[in-house]
Subunit: 338 residues, 2 copies
DNA sequence: TTCGTTGATTGAAAGGTTTCAAGTTTCGGT
DNA sequence: ACCGAAACTTGAAACCTTTCAATCAACGAA
């Protein structure tokens, strides 16, 4: 059924090798035969079999980016940065969604390794997983995105989440808040852990003890979970209820904000809110959201560059790059003029 | 360097065939040898070469979804629906982003066909492109998502965009608006065209001529373009300025809204806004957005089911499924009580 | 003891491409 | 007309699996 190089060769009256040359080394073939072969290929609808090609030639023209949550605009923006860098080269990017589940991530990594992709960009569920060493040890380069990893076994591109957490909390403390909620979870997510740690550090620096940061745990970093957190917050007795919330990401913050707005809780007067990521929707929210901005596109571009270098450059050396986050203050934490 | 079945066979003291059987037909092999072979595979870090496997066996366990815009939450939600359906089966989904560019779409489709993926879900730049017939004609099934196509050459799952446009406009007319902006573009995007057509139809039904719908063209369906459209709107002389806007999707609507809020244009009093898609952020916006809801997850699930049927079922027949959109009214179009 | 079964294992062929050493053609120069 | 070099073209081997017909081993039945 399927047309192969052999059929093309026969139909065009040339040898297999020539057909292959038309495909891979057009310069080696005389213009006339090339034209003839190409015509036949078009007529017969020839589609080279990438499996066979890759099997024989050993190379691959696809990369993959395995993200924690494809529905989070933060990650799709990073992906856009990756694509920008790849667009120049003749490479394709497949995006895979681990949905923050180790089993799904493992599945995808397996598949990608079996497929012998040229390289993998990964925002890992657990950056310390030994599976990563195994995979890159066998020859599929991995660049870690939005996380760092102990040691210099891999390239990584990340943002200083601890600093980010610190910035967020300092901002709230500056505005006089002393009972602050940290909304995020599960804490197994590294980003959540680091941002929380940064918040605690800021608290300590301000001479306040940990009791000033009440932790509200969520089961995911989603808008829905943000809404639920809002209910829990609302259920607290007024005296103990926080006057501000630092959310581990913008999705949570948006959910929280939405619930406040619909239930008539005034933001920022009754509750100030800080998010994290500064996704595009943060500034457009009911009350424009103060958020800790990460250079998303840049993250993606840089990660892609590192990966390409590791793929193409034989004396590549691993690099850990860390970007600095930046707090963007908006209405959700404004103090009323008085 | 790389370990192959041959190495495993040697190390385990069995034949190639047996190693392959351990992989593909474990029941055919005695428990004892199976254990031994598996042990050796683990020790040597054997990773089957999918290219070779696919070349010989002819099957593939991956599907792909080529979307128009990976940063649009609408599409990632559809993708989530797809993944839900695929999760049960042992299949992987690769997401590719055409960014609404025909050349990138063609590139991806090419690659995917060369890779011999089991099937493709596609939200096409141009559903009538003959390329689609060629590809599916050669044996790679394609299901069209969020668009329909003349004829019954493919399965498709879509939402009635014309009806959606009509609903949006009827809603605005009901609220007394008679100078309405249609914000969207480029009109080469089918969804934009259909939604506009629906709007025009509603206008006609109301006995108003086309001049009541002023078209503001955008170069993409993004938040940024929405902000720009807002500026153009603001630049119009008061007498001719529309009192309401129907945006071809929620991203535009959010951008428009954001600009209004920051420049002090009151929504809905000075400008009522209707979006399309009802993405998660629509309800959480500065002014909660009235929007035309599409059943996103259901769209994805259904598309995946159709594709699986086409892949697995020899006497599959193509189906065109159309869902009905639904208007969700929120504050952005509320009429002030008076 | 031998035969027939069943179950486990084997080994060669096949799948579609690229590679590369070897062979053939072309062409300018004499 | 002939030579040598340069330009093309060729064909077989190799890439790593899976498949399947054939072989082998074991074991219960006759």
């Amino acid at each position: 059924m399927a047309i192969g190089v052999k059929d093309i060769a026969t139909a065009a009256g040339v040898s297999l090798g020539t057909v292959s040359n038309v495909l891979n080394h057009p310069d080696r073939v005389s213009p006339r035969t090339r034209a003839r072969v190409e015509k036949v290929m078009a007529e017969l609808g020839f589609v080279p079999n990438e499996s066979a090609r890759q099997l024989r030639a050993g190379r691959s023209r696809t990369l993959a980016y395995v993200v924690l949550d494809a529905t989070n605009p933060f990650f799709t923006d990073v992906a856009r940065g990756v694509e920008e860098t790849l667009a120049a080269r003749d490479l394709s990017l497949y995006m895979c969604n681990s949905d923050n589940r180790a089993d799904r991530e493992a599945n995808y990594l397996n598949r990608l390794e079996e497929q012998r992709v040229a390289g993998i960009l990964l925002t890992p569920v657990d950056p310390e997983s030994p599976a990563l060493d195994k995979i890159s040890g066998r020859g599929t380069p991995i660049v870690i995105v939005d996380r760092t990893r102990a040691g210099d076994t891999h390239c990584s591109v990340a943002v200083d989440d601890v600093l980010g957490g610190r910035l967020a909390l300092e901002h709230l403390l500056d505005r006089g808040h002393e009972r602050i909620a940290f909304i995020g979870g599960p804490s197994s997510i590294g980003q959540v852990h680091d941002r929380h740690a940064g918040a605690l550090a800021a608290l300590a620096d301000a001479g306040l003890d940990e009791s000033h940061l009440v932790r509200i745990d969520t089961s995911a970093l989603s808008v829905g979970e943000g809404r639920q957190a809002a209910q829990r917050l609302a259920g607290m007795p007024g005296a103990r209820r926080p006057t501000a919330a630092f959310c581990a990401n913008d999705l949570l913050a948006l959910g929280l904000l939405q619930h406040c707005v619909t239930t008539g809780v005034s933001v920022p007067d009754e509750l100030a809110i800080v998010g994290f990521d500064d996704i595009e929707y943060a500034g457009a929210a009911a009350v424009p959201l103060t958020s800790v901005r990460q250079p998303r596109l840049r993250l993606g571009r840089t990660a892609a560059e590192l990966l390409l270098d590791e793929v193409e450059n034989p004396d590549h050396v691993h690099q850990q790059i860390t970007f600095t986050p930046e707090l963007v203050a908006r209405a959700s934490t404004e103090t009323r003029a008085n």
